[in-house]
């Protein structure tokens, strides 16, 4: 028999291996791989992997809800357009899509981001991570990616589905592409803006506590309360357009909407104002995150 491995007792033609102890002799991948591993497993767990069907049901339902408007529009077009000429495509321009499913995006972020940070802090595995070669920055980087990537499934994917579906059903898809190719970068930008915003803000709130329930509640409160406040104040002071920027839950949607030329007129405020407000909010959230993960803050 051939032999290998540590601690193998050998006679002339027999061998016993002590498998209770062993060293790792395989490939050692780099720090980048560690970050991607944190990102990948964080994203999968937040979507419900290895947590039973109930944990999967809610994220999947939200994703389906997010895609539903696109599916409905495409379905109507496929089934009825030829006969009756009804085409709902105009009823669902890309600039409005995110506004329509805004609540879904909010809920999705609120449910997935606490899963990324709270269990580690609560169960004490955070200290375990930081006793390995992974630095705090790398841990955060992995978790930020894990927050943003699944969010793209509700902020970006539905619009891409709609776009692709329109292409499939167009009489002259190449012509449509030539006329509307500029929509694609706008869709991409809109999707990324929302994913980054809700993801980072969600992570910031989740980093403040070890209990998921508090994180979800705090997140919703943080976003919804200023929005309600902004609405009230706008009734009192209709001309103060900057009040729209306080509406934290709809701020990114307005920002994304400004990217689409046909919707600009309907959105109060200028692009640069939204950009500024976006940077401020995401910046503050990032600072909170960094502070909560500084050395010594594992509790």
């Amino acid at each position: 028999m051939s032999s290998s491995g540590p601690q193998a007792a050998r006679a002339s033609d027999a061998e016993i291996r002590d498998v209770r102890y062993g060293t790792y002799s395989g490939e050692r991948r780099g720090r980048g791989a560690a970050v991607m591993s944190l990102a990948r497993w964080g994203a999968l767990r937040s979507l419900g992997a290895r947590r039973g069907w109930k944990a999967k049901a809610v994220p999947i339902a939200l994703i389906l809800l997010a895609v539903a408007p696109a599916v409905i529009v495409l379905g109507v077009r496929a089934l009825f357009a030829d006969q009756t000429g009804i085409d709902l495509t105009d009823a669902l321009p890309f600039s409005d899509y995110q506004a329509i499913i805004g609540v879904v995006i909010l809920l999705f972020a609120g449910i997935t981001t606490p899963e990324l940070l709270c269990p580690d802090r609560r169960d004490g595995t955070l200290q375990l991570y930081f006793s390995t070669a992974v630095s705090r920055g790398e841990y955060l980087a992995g978790r930020v990616i894990a927050a943003i990537a699944p969010l793209l499934l509700v902020t970006l994917a539905p619009m891409l589905v709609l776009y692709a579906g329109i292409l499939v059903f167009e009489e002259h898809p190449v012509g449509y592409l030539q006329d509307h190719w500029a929509e694609l970068p706008r869709i991409l930008g809109a999707g990324v803006i929302l994913a980054v915003y809700y993801g980072v803000v969600g992570l910031a709130v989740a980093s403040l506590t070890g209990r998921r329930a508090f994180a979800i509640g705090g997140y919703l409160l943080l976003l919804v309360a200023p929005t309600v406040l902004s609405g009230l104040l706008l009734e009192a002071f209709p001309d103060a357009e900057w009040l729209n920027l306080i509406a934290l839950s709809t701020l990114p949607i307005g920002f994304a909407g400004e990217l689409f030329p046909d919707a600009r007129a309907d959105i109060p405020g200028e692009l640069w104002q939204y950009l500024l407000a976006f940077v401020v909010v995401v910046g503050v959230a990032s600072l909170v995150l960094l502070r909560r993960y500084r050395p010594g803050a594992e509790a």
């Binding site: 028999m1 027999a14 061998e15 016993i16």
Partner: protein, 311 residues
């Protein structure tokens, strides 16, 4: 023993998070080798890897010197009896075995089928449709199709499953003969006393790890940290026992029915000194036999030792 027929090099196979085989390496040559392990230890996975039905996650598997995925021709020289029960119900036993033989390049498939079916004891039902075959008959049909093309390497997954004692004896004898003919035979089983009769060498899998390989006796010899138990039938057990303890040859003595069981750390020394000691004490030795040298004890020990690993 040269090991060229079947070579595993650091083979691991996992399914998601479940590791079916962990870093298994061995090389097998002609003769019968038993593949031992509990259900779920990785025996079926190991055989599937040998048969080319799946690929290792890491490591290499070489069957008759070749990578099966690239050298399909190697299948002419391999016979596989896998663990699934199903056969084509509308074929007769002869038709199925002949079909398999034909697909593997046998020149006269019908003669080969007849011979194989006779060898496994299905000669008189060869022309019955497989639909009505019992579990034991199906097992033997599988074995027949594995033999029909005269393969160098045989992979048998629990071949005695479902057979009655007479059939079992017949198949055990068949397997022993196949090994003596110079073929490489791998038999997986969890019925230890039968493996003991068929296979002089074993591979022991526990939770996906290969914990021991080689000749059963040699493995037992290697289990150094456990004293060997010897049963002695004598006409003055207590007297002899006193002498043995006094001479420091045994660690403990216990009396069972009409025999004495001693535990000795150094069996060789005991074997050398016992006759002299018995003669000097005037005690007649009627029977001296090792108690836990059988595969059952060896396996139990290995399994216990590796408990917790891999799960």
């Amino acid at each position: 023993m040269n090991g060229e027929a079947l070579v595993f090099e650091k083979v691991s196979r996992w399914y998601g998070d479940t590791v079916a085989l962990a870093d298994v390496s061995f090389a097998l040559g002609p003769g019968v080798t038993g593949l031992l392990g509990h259900n779920g230890a990785g025996k079926s996975t190991a055989l599937k890897l040998c048969a080319g039905f799946t690929q290792p996650s890491t490591g290499t598997v070489r069957v008759l010197g070749a990578d099966l995925a690239r050298n399909l021709d190697t299948y002419r020289r391999i016979g596989i009896a896998h663990d699934r029960d199903a056969l084509w119900p509308f074929l007769t036993a002869r038709a199925m075995v002949a079909l398999c033989a034909r697909l593997r390049g046998v020149r006269d498939p019908d003669a080969a089928a007849a011979r194989a079916l006779d060898e496994v004891g299905l000669g008189d039902v060869a022309d019955r449709k497989l639909r009505g075959f019992s579990h034991g008959m199906r097992q033997r049909v599988k074995l027949a199709q594995a033999l029909a093309h005269d393969p160098e390497l045989l992979l048998l997954d629990e071949p005695l499953n479902g057979l009655d004692p007479a059939q079992r004896r017949h198949i055990v004898d068949l397997v022993v003969r196949l090994g003596e003919e110079g073929r490489t035979v791998v038999v997986s089983s969890h019925v230890l006393h039968e493996v003991e009769r068929m296979a002089p060498r074993v591979l022991v899998l526990v939770n996906g790890h290969l914990v021991a390989s080689g000749d059963t006796q040699a493995i037992r010899d290697l289990i150094a940290d456990r004293p060997r138990s010897i049963r002695l039938r004598t006409d003055d057990g207590r007297g002899l026992g006193r002498e043995l303890v006094g001479a420091g040859l045994v660690e403990s003595v216990r009396f069972e029915d009409d025999a004495m069981v001693v535990e000795a750390g150094d069996v060789e020394r005991l074997g050398r000194e016992l006759p002299r000691l018995a003669r000097d004490a005037g005690v007649r030795l009627r029977r001296v036999e090792p108690v836990d040298d059988d595969l059952e004890s060896v396996y139990a020990y290995l399994h216990e030792r590796a408990r917790g690993v891999g799960r």
